[in-house]
């Protein structure tokens, strides 16, 4: 298993050869499977920002935190739309994701409030094509959701660096 190809592959992936649990080479392609390990120390994502946010619980700051965080996590995200009108103290986000699965509708998932974002959050992933269809009205918005007064965040607006 300790072939030159495996050594090169683990170097490129930045993993230790000890973490490799499956390796196979077919023609000019190498298949490698690694066992991900939990970090030794707790996650510290955005800890400084979290502390600042927790102080004032400002919804706009919380949304910006989420946007920054989500752009960093998901490299397929092109834009994030914050639907503010009628949402009250809830955060409704449509995230346009090149890596998303097309469903032909808006399927939001609920995230409970947490320290960094102490607001109920509803997040829906759509593909760029679905986003075009939403804008043209072919895909309807869920009841109570509206694009009026919505705000768009583009990846380019954020200095996206890996937080992992």
């Amino acid at each position: 298993m300790q072939t030159a190809t495996l050594k090169k592959a683990t170097q490129e992936l930045g993993v230790s050869p000890e973490d490799v649990v499956f390796y196979n080479k077919l023609g000019n392609k190498a298949f490698i499977e690694i066992n991900l390990k939990l970090p030794a120390s707790p996650a510290t994502d955005g800890a400084e920002t979290a502390a600042k946010i927790a102080e004032n619980h400002d919804i706009e700051t919380a949304v910006k935190f989420l946007a920054q965080d989500n752009f960093a996590v998901e490299d397929g995200l092109e834009r994030i739309i914050w639907l503010r009108e009628g949402a009250g103290e809830k955060i409704r986000l449509i995230e346009v994701n090149r890596n998303g699965f097309p469903t032909g509708r808006i399927e939001a998932f609920y995230f409970a409030p947490f320290a960094e974002v102490p607001f109920k959050t509803y997040l829906a992933d759509v593909t760029p094509e679905e986003w075009r269809q939403i804008l043209s009205g072919k895909i309807p918005l869920p009841e109570g959701w509206t694009l009026e007064e919505s705000r768009e965040f583009l990846r380019s607006e954020f200095e996206v660096t890996s937080v992992g």
């Binding site: 510290t44 699965f101 609920y110 947490f114 509803y122 937080v163």
Partner: protein
Amino acid sequence: MWAEAYLEQARSDWQVWELIRQHELPNCHALHYLQMTCEKLGKAFLIAGGTISPQKAKASHHAFKSFLQVASRNPTLRNLFKMRSVQLQAHIRQLLPLAESIERLAPALSQDGPNVEYPWESPDRRIHTPVKYTFPALRELQRPAGTNLLKVVDLVQKEFYRLFTEI
């Protein structure tokens, strides 16, 4: 109410999956319950999101995979896994192909091919039965990605009320 109902049924399916896998029965039966666990969990998450009615959720077979796609953006889940965001994203991406394979075990998504419930005909005109078929997903479940997927399924059921619903 509907989300809790789907969760309750998913948890029961999960118990049956855990029970059956300990016995020497045809693998299709255990896989059937795992597939149903994932399907109902996905629907529970979807309904809890509030934009899809229970009637529309009923027809959705990809909800669990859709949930996994956004799960890594949930910081609370990251803390639960004690992973950093990029780590959890990589972790979950590793699980997506297997999650999709499990979803496709449902007859509705199998495109008249291998599924865990009904016999099917292969292109060479042979008739297959689930009880005699060796499902590739089973082998995958014994690999690290499979173990990790099962851990996620177990954990999100347990943490459903705390993390994924307004209740």
